[in-house]
């Protein structure tokens, strides 16, 4: 679409005000047919009618696009700078020990970010563990096996889940999920998997496990809808080719569809992970808000985003405030590192190829 944008916006084409009306259906048609012929012929017509129009708008357009891209860099740099600048006091006081310290005691001005980093990573990882298989399952079913009528309903419901505000998820978790976990799921887990050490201790319902589950429910719609889009974009002839070689349906999905779509799927997972790392409200309502590193998933924990939301408004001391902003810096860095690792993972799987279907 970008190629035709500047002739349409060109101030020099008063006589061509009719052009967009005819061009739009042509383009839409072209997009569905994956053919460029119609577009190029439309462009050719425009160029013929006013030959001088392409140069200046093109340059302006290029600069504008460059500016929008550069603004992303500017925002990231500015955020990072602000975070470092405002947390200088705490950086100076605790140094790198801040990131591994376990103590969080505002009364005695002792601050360490470890319990929060741990809580953020564990709750997000738990969420991915549950959400990824579920989302891919939903997406595969919807694109590959689902009857047409059901497909619309499932897609609609998945997107509905994405539209629910996080505070509603939090309330639901407190009043429905937590009692369910406390009365049925956690006693069962303690009995069957208690030996792992992950499911021991007093059962509150709220805690790391509840936070992981609520996060999983919140990121399923993101991963599922992106995966569905990616799977839909896999060319039909890939499927037919694999089937023609005598593959079963499962083999066709595995080799013909998922294999081709994996980069896009990982992209969706990264987006979901991003939401999980930064989610605040729903998590803080069920995680128990206790800054402790505990192996048991039943135990309460704390996340970086939650402690910021909880304590920022009433923080009065300078060092306290500075430590909270450094938590923000830690969250920024953790997100950066996790995203970088995910990208590396994708590259290592695909050997750097980019020719596959992307999200």
């Amino acid at each position: 679409m970008s190629d035709d944008a500047n002739p349409l916006n060109s101030p020099e084409s008063p006589e061509h005000t009719q052009q967009p009306m005819t061009a739009i259906p042509t383009l839409a048609q072209a997009a569905t047919e994956r053919k460029t012929f119609a577009v190029s012929s439309a462009l050719a017509r425009i160029r013929q009618s006013h030959p001088r129009s392409s140069r200046i708008p093109d340059a302006v357009f290029k600069v504008l696009i460059l500016l929008t891209a550069a603004s992303v860099f500017a925002i990231v740099v500015f955020v990072l700078w602000e975070l470092i600048d405002k947390s200088r006091l705490s950086l100076h006081q605790f140094g790198l020990g801040f990131f591994v310290g376990h103590e969080w005691d505002p009364v005695n001005d002792q601050y360490g970010a470890m319990p929060f980093i741990y809580g953020t990573l564990v709750s997000s990882f738990l969420a991915l563990l549950m959400a990824v298989p579920l989302s891919i399952g939903v997406a595969v079913y919807v694109t590959e096996m689902c009857p047409m009528r059901l497909r619309a309903i499932i897609s609609f419901l998945v997107e509905l889940l994405a539209a629910i505000p996080s505070v509603i998820y939090g309330l639901w978790a407190i009043f429905v999920l937590a009692p369910l976990l406390r009365d049925y799921v956690e006693p069962f887990l303690a009995k069957t998997l208690g030996w792992t050490g992950l499911f021991t201790g007093p059962v509150y319902g709220i805690g790391m496990l509840a936070a992981g589950i609520i996060l999983a429910i919140m990121i399923v719609p993101i991963i599922a809808s992106i995966t569905r889009e990616v799977l839909t974009a896999v060319p039909q002839n890939q499927r037919e080719a694999v089937l023609a070689l005598g593959a079963t349906r499962w083999e066709m999905i595995r080799m013909g569809v998922l294999r081709n779509a994996r980069i896009g799927i990982v992209g969706g997972i990264i987006l979901g992970l991003g939401r999980a790392l930064g989610e605040t409200m729903a998590v803080t309502m069920v995680i128990g808000n206790r800054p402790e590193v505990s192996k048991s998933l039943f135990a309460p924990g704390y996340t970086m985003a939650s402690v910021l939301a909880n304590e920022f408004t009433e923080a009065t001391g300078d060092l306290y405030l500075s430590a909270l902003i450094e938590i923000g810096l830690a969250l920024f860095l953790v997100t950066l590192v996790v995203n970088a690792l995910a990208r590396l993972l994708v590259w290592s799987i695909t050997g750097g190829s980019t020719g596959r279907v992307r999200a």
Partner: protein
């Protein structure tokens, strides 16, 4: 006077009012927000030239903004510390406005009666030293109640709040152990328990967790009809929190000149021991004299007329003698 003339005068008055209107900006504590917004809207009704814009951004934010001089007045649930006062460019007067109380709420399976708590029991529970409801100390002061064999789960506020400040201030006063290990603050390092966000979060968790106990604002308990226990005060009486017993807590305390006083565990037979003032922070020598005068007038108006509105919104009003003292101080110190 005919009708169209009346309308004309009205329109004229309104336009004039709008032209001459000054906006006073305030920011701070969330706890008194409902009563403050009622006062300020009532004040605007009576003085159409003054519009007060109060943002409930939290006590910490209120103190910071007033220190920096970005607002005309601030508000806080905990008094400013000596260091904060020393660091502040703007000298302020703490003006007590209304009182709040914090109550212990619990969910003990099979217990419907009102549970009595002594200071030692409360400190023991919140330090994790009393960890089961069948503890002998509880049975001793509540001989009529049969407590179950059930672990105690402590629920505290996870967000920084004046409520936590009042409660930990009380525990610090009645337990040297608490004072030494945890101390007081809007956020502290809780020895045991899980955190809920806001009064509603704590109340929700208490409702959901059998065997739990937490602390919530009296207002919240009254408005949501949540059961809570009585607490033994310094005179040895078990007092249940109410607006009257909260006001009584302020009556027995000797007021210092700057009104920065904690009234937890006060003397007085009828006083409820876990109570506190909430304060407006008024610059004593404001840069903008006209606005400063307006803030002063408004505060005096609130002390005269606002206290009567307090109990309607479940806030405990100041005792009469405190109001007189505060008014004298405002008149004298605020220029």
């Amino acid at each position: 006077m005919n009708r169209s003339l009346k309308i004309l005068i009205c329109v004229f008055a309104l336009t004039l009012g709008a032209l001459a209107q000054t906006t006073l900006n305030g920011a701070g504590a969330t706890f008194p927000y409902p009563i403050y917004s009622k006062w300020f809207s009532e004040y605007h009704n009576q003085h159409s030239d003054v519009q007060v814009n109060y943002q409930s951004i939290g006590s910490g934010g209120g103190i910071r903004q007033v220190q920096a001089g970005t607002v005309d007045f601030g508000a806080t649930d905990g008094p400013m510390s000596d260091e904060q006062i020393a660091a502040s460019k703007v000298k302020v007067l703490h003006v007590p406005t209304v009182l709040g109380a914090v109550v212990p709420a619990y969910n003990i399976p099979g217990v419907t009666q009102e549970v009595k708590f002594t200071p030692e029991i409360l400190a023991g529970i919140f330090m994790g030293k009393i960890s089961n409801w069948n503890d002998a100390a509880l049975a001793k002061v509540n001989p009529d109640i049969k407590f179950p064999n059930q672990n105690i789960t402590v629920v505290h506020r996870s967000d920084g709040s004046g409520t936590s400040y009042i409660f930990t201030d009380y525990l610090s006063k009645i337990s040297a152990d608490w004072q030494g290990t945890t101390g007081k603050g809007t956020s502290v390092k809780w020895p045991v328990g899980v955190g809920g966000k806001g009064n509603e979060g704590v109340a929700g968790m208490i409702r959901q967790l059998p065997g739990s106990i937490g602390y919530i604002e009296l207002i919240y308990a009254l408005q949501n009809k949540i059961n809570y226990g009585s607490v033994k005060n310094s005179s040895g009486q078990f007092v249940k929190a109410s607006l009257e017993s909260t006001t009584a807590a302020a009556a027995g305390v000797k007021m210092p000149a700057d009104f920065r006083v904690s009234i937890t565990n006060p003397p007085g037979k009828t006083a409820y021991p876990i109570a506190s003032f909430t304060w407006l922070l008024i610059p004593t020598n404001p840069a903008d004299k006209t606005k400063g005068k307006m803030v002063k007038d408004m505060v005096l108006w609130a002390l005269d007329n606002g206290e009567g509105m307090a109990s309607g919104l479940s806030y405990a009003p100041l005792p009469k003698e405190v109001i007189d003292k505060v008014k004298a101080a405002v008149n004298q110190q605020v220029k």
